[in-house]
Subunit: 345 residues, 2 copies
DNA sequence: CTGAAAGCGCTTACAG
DNA sequence: CTGAAAGCGCTTACAG
């Protein structure tokens, strides 16, 4: 059995027409139950599977979702933010369970992404993932949308960005974690993470942070903000900057992402600064690593399973022609030891 | 521009036949350079992309690689071994750079994997990933092979398993890390990890471990072995067992995977056992987490970038009809602090 | 309930 | 160098 079987082979064996085979295999009600059983039984014996290329070509759809994972080019090449890896896992499962293939591709702002972008042409819909600046892709994405491709984006809703956005409540999460720190700390605060238009998720977290500080202003709280993209190295750079230029050190450092906090912790440790004794540090994302840093990191959890489900579910709805809208999922504060408070971990 | 452009649209605009458009876009030397340029220019303007379904159907190939990631059902559902997530990243990049799509699917031994397995029918080749027991899949995989699908497997070469295997030198890695421990420790040793036929990678590591012990037998070294699949929870169970039944505790614990070691460290810590003072612990894989445990974990690195490249490269060679054979890549000892030795990390 | 036939958008002998 | 035509394996009106 060198060549894969076709529906004609089955038709021949079952003594029916190829049309009937096709109907039987697609569980069409138009086919006699006996005939259907016979056809399906033969198909199973032959290990027959429908040729997706032919089927999709004929049906004029692809049964495929493209996942474009954007990474900032400046981040370490070797290490994708584990948070997105985790999202990748949940999106894979969510699409598989709905009978859709997932075409994964990594977009890198400085590579020849045009080539990789081709994937998106083979898909009924696209999921965008990454703490990235989508504006540079706007042209291509808009063009795809005009050609009927649906786009779902993980992150904060931004009117100018393409597609519908689903994200966690970054504002509330930033506020919650900052309030937690405020309940334990006084003094100067620092926020590490980009806060411009190009980083809407970080910006929302920053705004939550600012509001918490403001509402707490019985005690006056000073704040500095230092830019950092989503990468350990950026956290190291930012912490270095803090150590060099800001004396005394802030009493608490709120990081826009766990992976940044990891770099911050490393740098502080190397400089002999005690966490949480000298300074409290918190992150965002609840990556696996955050439970293992020393001290373990207080952070905000985004439910990746639920997020993957929501992205796929809404994308498929959009493909079916239903109306979908932006929405936010709740974020959960995870208290660990990096603020010096009690913890059950 | 609601509908995607076809080659006929371009043919019309360029004033040539559709055949010529197809040739021009495939860089056929049979087409006039002027004509080719004109066609390609129009294609770019229209944001035209070849319909892969049609193209693959005609060419009778798929330009797709299926990645089947096997997980043991007993492992925590939420957490895929980060080592394989890292492999996933490198395989994705390696296939993209060669113009192949990657269809990712997670196989779970206890789920209805038949459904997910269908993916493999759409692929020119399959990459198998996971510390899994492939024997239960043998029937399906053999059938695919007979139908002309090429299979590449990450792991130790096992004659009965389907496909060509590429892996790291688990034996040497196991031996190296054990010798390192032996250079610092005397006394009783324990190995945690499955060592049966169903876990050939772990078994090879175990054999390296045994050989190191044997060659060192100037000092007599006692050894126990405890089963554990590749999961943190399995490490916790195994360490618990060690604590309950083995007094005194071994002086060194060699774990078959980092993720097992993470569970072991956690359990020892909870029991008040000091690492490395009371007992040395080492792992295997060099997952990101291993640098962040307390103490940081001495382990063996498998080069995932190189591994992904090798898997894809060899798979494509096999698809082209070239002969390929099993082979091993070197594994590198990474010394950290969990054995109490000096470290530069 | 079933079959004969058209056609999805390409690639590629074949003929010029 | 170019074009007309066949055909990849399906799905689905259309006719019975």
């Amino acid at each position: 059995m060198k060549n894969k079987a076709t529906s004609f082979d089955i038709a021949h064996m079952a003594g029916v027409s190829q049309s009937t085979v096709s109907r039987a295999l697609n569980d069409s009600p138009l086919v006699n139950i006996e005939t259907r059983r016979k056809v399906q039984e033969i198909a199973r014996q032959l290990n027959y599977k429908v040729d997706k290329n032919a089927s999709n070509l004929r049906r004029q759809r692809s049964s495929t979702i493209a996942l474009l994972l954007f990474e900032d080019p400046t981040s370490d090449d070797s290490m994708i933010n584990p948070f997105f890896l985790s999202m990748l896992g949940s999106i894979t499962k969510a699409s598989a369970s709905r009978g859709y293939d997932l075409l994964v591709s990594f977009q890198n702002l400085d590579s020849d992404w045009h080539a990789e972008f081709e994937d998106s042409h083979k898909a009924d819909g696209i999921i965008l993932l990454g703490y990235g600046d989508y504006r540079s892709y706007e042209g291509k994405l808009t063009q795809l949308q005009e050609q009927g491709t649906h786009i779902m984006r993980w992150g904060a809703p931004v009117a100018e960005y393409p597609g519908i956005s689903i994200g966690c409540d970054n504002f509330q999460g930033g506020k919650d974690v900052t309030e937690h720190v405020l309940s334990l700390r006084q003094g100067n605060f620092a926020f590490i993470g980009d806060v411009g238009d190009k980083a809407p998720e970080f910006q929302a977290r920053y705004e939550g942070y600012l509001q918490a500080l403001e509402q707490h202003s019985g005690t006056s709280v000073a704040s500095v903000q230092i830019d950092a993209i989503s990468a350990e190295s950026a956290g190291i750079d930012a912490a270095q900057q803090l150590l060099e230029r800001h004396t005394p050190l802030p009493d608490a450092i709120v990081c826009a992402a766990d992976i940044i906090a990891v770099g911050v912790l490393k740098t502080l440790k190397a400089a002999g600064v005690q966490v949480p004794a000298d300074v409290a540090v918190v992150g965002f994302d609840n990556i696996q690593l955050s439970a293992f840093t020393t001290p373990s990191l207080t952070t905000v959890q985004q439910n990746t399973i639920q997020a993957g489900e929501a992205l796929v579910e809404n994308l498929l709805r959009a493909i079916e022609g239903e109306q979908t809208t932006d929405y936010l999922m709740p974020a959960t504060l995870i208290v660990r030891q990096s603020c010096g408070c009690e913890s059950n971990e």
